[in-house]
Symmetry: D2
């Protein structure tokens, strides 16, 4: 298993980051290289090292880096002096995107939504969704879920579970109740029943909610997959109790789980949908809040933002919808790859009974290795072997594999081989450490 | 005064926007054309009409549209498969930007700051600043100002004065006290004294603030310019009362008022500075929070965001700093243009004594025409004459002129001629309407 | 079963209340009489009607009305011009109370607490407890429970579950998470385990709590009794997670469940205890927050209130502690009476299998009759039979029997006979109505 | 000036308080005696010392201690087994109070209000007022004023200015904006104009208020008297902007400034009025929220509380209204006494030009002696001379004189003589200390 050429050993000069960049940076701490170029599944560092990207910007690069079709569309646009920034003025770039979205994504799925372009980050799309839900219902409480992740600005952060992120707020985060996600209390407790019980009890202390905000697969939360039944029950609960159902599809959408929207498997109709990350196709900032038409009750300008008319991103996004989503070839490919990955991961897990479990679905998969220490060891070793890869989960105990959806079979196997080897090494290393500690303590 | 070729009369087909875009859109309502291309100060619509851009994305396009040097740098980068999206990984694009920022902007000004890249919108940069101030001080209240504008996500929105924007929140916006901006109560009341009085009174009900958040020139608030003395007093107040001074330079920074930072004229040293809009030079999403090093107390990853590594924007931003800011030629040009504009505007205002006043400074100027109706008439007429232009101010009573800083003298005069004519027509129209009404009422 | 002389039929003149009193009044709506005097278990209305008090001011009159010993102590004090109101000055009345509290209640139970007199209502005592817990821990979130009731001022109201009461706030009630009380999800779900799971998960969205606030028996919430094991587990959870354990013993304390404190059966040591209602013995306003000495970290005057030195109440409270609590005779009597009541209620319930259940413990007992309609019928009929009695529970479905603890056996049986008859009549009435409706619908 | 017999020197045994009472106690720290009895203006300690009460429970004992008429009414009621506690049931005691309130207070003043009895403390009455204002208007923000004091429970505390009290909350206090009270910025700034300016500016950041909550004379805030014009302007502002006007008359009401309500001098009609403190006449806990009938939109039971039916307090309150308010003799007497006091205080102040100022109005008067140190010295020395007296104001710099309104001329002069002497001694002591320090520093 030595398919990946070892990245060069030359250490990059990273002093400018130490000197000039805030200590808030995180990913770069575990992957101390400097990257320069990228094509498809591969990233190249300044010293000539090559890395297989199993992180893809946390699912921002579903179509791989610099996909040639998308790249060419953008180059053509820039060369022709296409308008780059337009606030919310009408532009040809936006019109083309809206038309493609309507024809290729919404119509075939019998979905009827208005498109709201917010500031081009996922958290802005979530903030807009929350605002609208509160405005439309006249209620203030939002129900979010344990281990949910929705963004870093205060409205979205209040819906996020992670305590480190939350503590950054410096003020209490309110107007949100975090309820138990599917199987949060194990397979025997139907958490949707618990929620129903509280919503139906006028003395439960749970106020009438404006919205239920949910990810169908929790990316940052550890690749937890909500079951179809649970999602249906939550959707029905929302309807019954007058709350809007908001699906945050920022990480799981745009094909990551197979279909364009992650909730298609459940056959539910959200009131509001948030998209961002892979929407632009090239990794450019773009965010979109889809709203059922009757809920589009905004005052003009009530929620705005300078960069909501990011035309470069409209251009590449339109090209991506055209190229990948006009037929179901791409989607079927994702499902096939997802199956390959899941099988490999199950084989890996089977080697470590009781210690490793497979998480996720589609091509949003990972390995729960039981602790942050082991998961960190896996990613550290994998990075040495040329894999850009990260962890997630409440205790950072899940090694998250987010390969480009466009990856070819051979490259996928190369990467999974490296992950498999890293897991093996990580257990040796960790068990060894523990054994050494025991020995040391014996004296 | 007919220098601008009248845009074609062909009406564009805007049905896709009606059908598919949320009613939250605003600018496009007053300017019902569809734009396609843009170069320098000029925008072109799909029907071949040409418009002079006196809005520049609310100061996002200080260097004009598609500046050839910036554009070429971006094309070269994309052609070479430069990495587009990198979360917070180290990239050559980021390193180049940090080095240019340090060498060209900070060092010559004896400024020592750490750079934090937030999600690439101004509101995200403000949210990060607020979080950090609260975290560092352990306090929760932030002091913002009347007519201030800081963004649409809940943390920044709480600091924003505009009641339409605020009402969009759907929940009460707290932890912020809105104090009176300079000259808010007229020239005879020193509002910094009022604030000082309340901060020094342990029973005023004003809790100890974590930060004072201020724009030196309020762009959305009506081009209100804080005096140097007021800014110095506010800076000193912040220091005395243990609050961080945050300058929101998102609209006024990047040369709009002449120097790179708008606060340079006041000789103050903010604790935190937020930048966005024109930072990338081409209108691409990019946001930056500058932090005094000793305040950089973030936990790794405590505030993050997918698109904070928008490398396309790093590339054009670096090119912009290099091209425009390595000498003071550009800055001096802005001052000269600003003086020309101010003189012209004073001449216009002089024609309407007691009805029109000049607001703003540098090339961040406008005309207070006394009412939303008249201001709307001015911009509507100006748009018919080929000027893209907008209003601001608490009652939308200020016609805001944000020309590209790179505009040539002739084009500037063409535009100002059109504005002058639009003001004249607007008053005729408005007074006429009123006269007709009076006449009608007389019967 | 006709032991109670039917109250006179003369209708009282209640116009002054209609004309002058706010419509917020509630109990008086179901019991449209005007009361004048009261002794022991009996209340007398202005028309000479006599009523057996099975409400006792929601457990405020545990020793009955105008107990002669307490009444005489108060008369002596007033006759001697004893000081009535003292803010927090030292008074003989307060000293006597503190000494009696220490000697009779705390010392024999090996309890070491500081006494804080708050404004003389339960809600004020709870507010003080919450403030102190937040201050001492530096945390903001408080965990309260479904169906909990803690008061009407905003801090306590945020901890209260009832949605009608909550909606009165007019602002969102925050900084509190309402967790499931014991057996809230039925006997098969250990809700303390659920809470533990969430507290131990750093991504659950549940912030570290300042306090866990709990009633051992939920009076307003429907006479739900927390089991000893659950209480022990909650106490242990609080300790483990650095939260203070606050027992709100306002309704269940002062002997209502048998021992002086309701939590004595669980063998737990709260960090803070709130008492009010029956503390003064005569029904006079008095409230007390007991604090473990090391948590008594108040600044002088940090929480105050005019009537916290209500000396009349100190006098009667001291007399009550002396008379009832120096030996265990009284407490044993309550247990015996409770057993008698429980047996009677079980007999009544047995007549209506599947329709009536016994709730509560000690002399804090009631009948869950399944719906608000039936419960209202029971209390209405019982009142016609001369019983002052009320409902509680999330749906007002529990007929709550709070007899004076000092009641004699015969009177207790008279009252229970009347309740039994009222239940029978209520079911006849309700079933009859339903039957009539069915018949009517059949046509 | 030695009219007051020096209190005995025997030191009382205060160990029980040290051992058993929370350190939150405050008044008792400056007056380390133990009080036993009280009649009229005089309090007696356990060692036989006699003290003139110039604190009167912060205006809770306007009719003096144990007024014989009120006391007899209460004794008669208790002797006759009058019902003591009634929740909100109808009682003869409540009816009598409502009738007397209507006939003696409201009707003669052409006032039409509904009476809401809240939990019997001022803070509960304020909480009810705030809730109702928010409910009725559907708005959340309340405008309160610098140096205002409204209570210690979270809703009322948010409206209180004092930072020590506020910090006790342990959570941020929101939904309230503290605006400048009359003359807060000196005589040249009309603070009502400032407020009007902000309320009329849609971008001021000040949300539309549910209520304006104001004391006409700020007792705790330093005896600041709002002018008639300012009060009229505030009342008119409230009306214009759709906010309810709530007058908190808890300390200034019940005759303290002369008329029964303190706002009568301004000729304004509040929407809601809160009363407590002296309402019961004897110092017993009682609180009342008066509501304009069309605003009485409570749901039954939406705001309740155990002790809102404190019949002992109804009895003494009724007796007080009858005895003192059926004619204007009493009110005129207060005005006369107020004039005497003011003249004396002006004479005292005149001795210390630039150092002492007279504050307040009616019999709610005090001396601003410039610093907490001097004020503390005055009260300490006065207490040694047999005067119970306290300070107020943002810096505790005002010696507050709240004599019983029933005091006779001779006793009043005795007390004022002692205050005068204490002021003199305090300045000698303070100046001496300073002088000594200067001398010491000279070496």
């Amino acid at each position: 298993m030595n398919y990946l050429p070892a990245p060069t050993a030359t250490k990059p000069d990273l002093r400018i980051y130490e000197r000039m960049e805030s200590r808030v940076r995180s990913y770069s701490r575990c992957m101390p290289r400097q990257f320069a170029k990228a094509m498809g599944a591969w990233m190249y560092d300044s010293e000539g090292g090559r890395y297989l990207d199993f992180l893809t910007g946390c699912s921002t690069l579903n179509y791989g880096h610099n996909h040639p079709v998308l790249k060419q569309a953008l180059l053509d646009y820039i060369n022709a002096d296409g308008i780059a920034q337009s606030l919310d003025l009408h532009t040809e770039a936006k019109a083309a995107f809206l038309e493609e979205l309507e024809a290729t994504i919404l119509k075939p799925r019998n979905m009827n939504y208005k498109a709201m372009f917010t500031g081009p980050t996922g958290t802005n799309a979530v903030e807009a969704a929350l605002k609208l839900a509160r405005k439309v219902t006249g209620r203030q409480l939002v129900i979010a879920f344990t281990n949910g992740f929705h963004g870093m600005t205060l409205g979205a952060l209040a819906c996020t579970g992670n305590s480190v992120k939350r503590s950054g707020a410096g003020i209490p985060l309110n107007h949100v109740s975090h309820e138990a996600f599917d199987e949060y209390f194990g397979p025997d407790v139907n958490t949707a029943d618990l929620l129903e019980h509280r919503l139906s009890d006028p003395s439960s202390g749970l106020d009438a909610p404006a919205a239920i905000l949910v990810e169908t697969v929790q990316g940052e939360g550890g690749l937890n997959v909500a079951s179809v039944n649970w999602l249906k029950q939550i959707a029905s609960l929302a309807k019954k109790h007058g709350a809007l159902l908001i699906i945050d599809d920022i990480q799981a959408g745009c094909g990551r789980t197979g279909p364009f929207f992650s909730f298609e498997r459940a056959g539910i109709t959200p009131d509001i949908i948030t998209l961002a990350k892979s929407l632009s196709g090239l990794g450019l900032p773009l965010a979109l809040t889809l709203i059922r038409p009757e809920l589009d009750q905004w005052e003009p300008g009530e929620h705005n933002g300078t960069f909501r008319g990011n035309c470069h991103a409209f251009i590449s996004a339109t090209a991506a919808l055209k190229y990948f989503w006009r037929t179901d070839v791409f989607s079927r490919g994702v499902k096939r790859h997802g199956q390959i990955m899941e099988n490999r991961l199950l084989q890996i897990a089977a080697k470590y009974p009781g210690r490793v479990a497979v998480k996720g679905c589609g091509m949003m998969l990972g390995l729960d290795v039981g602790s942050a220490d082991i998961a960190a060891a896996v990613t550290r070793i994998a990075f040495r072997r040329g894999i850009v890869i990260e962890t997630s989960g409440p205790h950072d105990e899940v090694v998250k594999i987010l390969a480009p959806l466009t990856i070819d079979d051979e490259t996928l196997h190369i990467g999974l081989d490296a992950v498999e080897a890293a897991v093996a090494d990580a257990f040796i290393e960790t068990d060894g450490i523990k054994w050494n500690r025991r020995k040391a303590n014996a004296h």
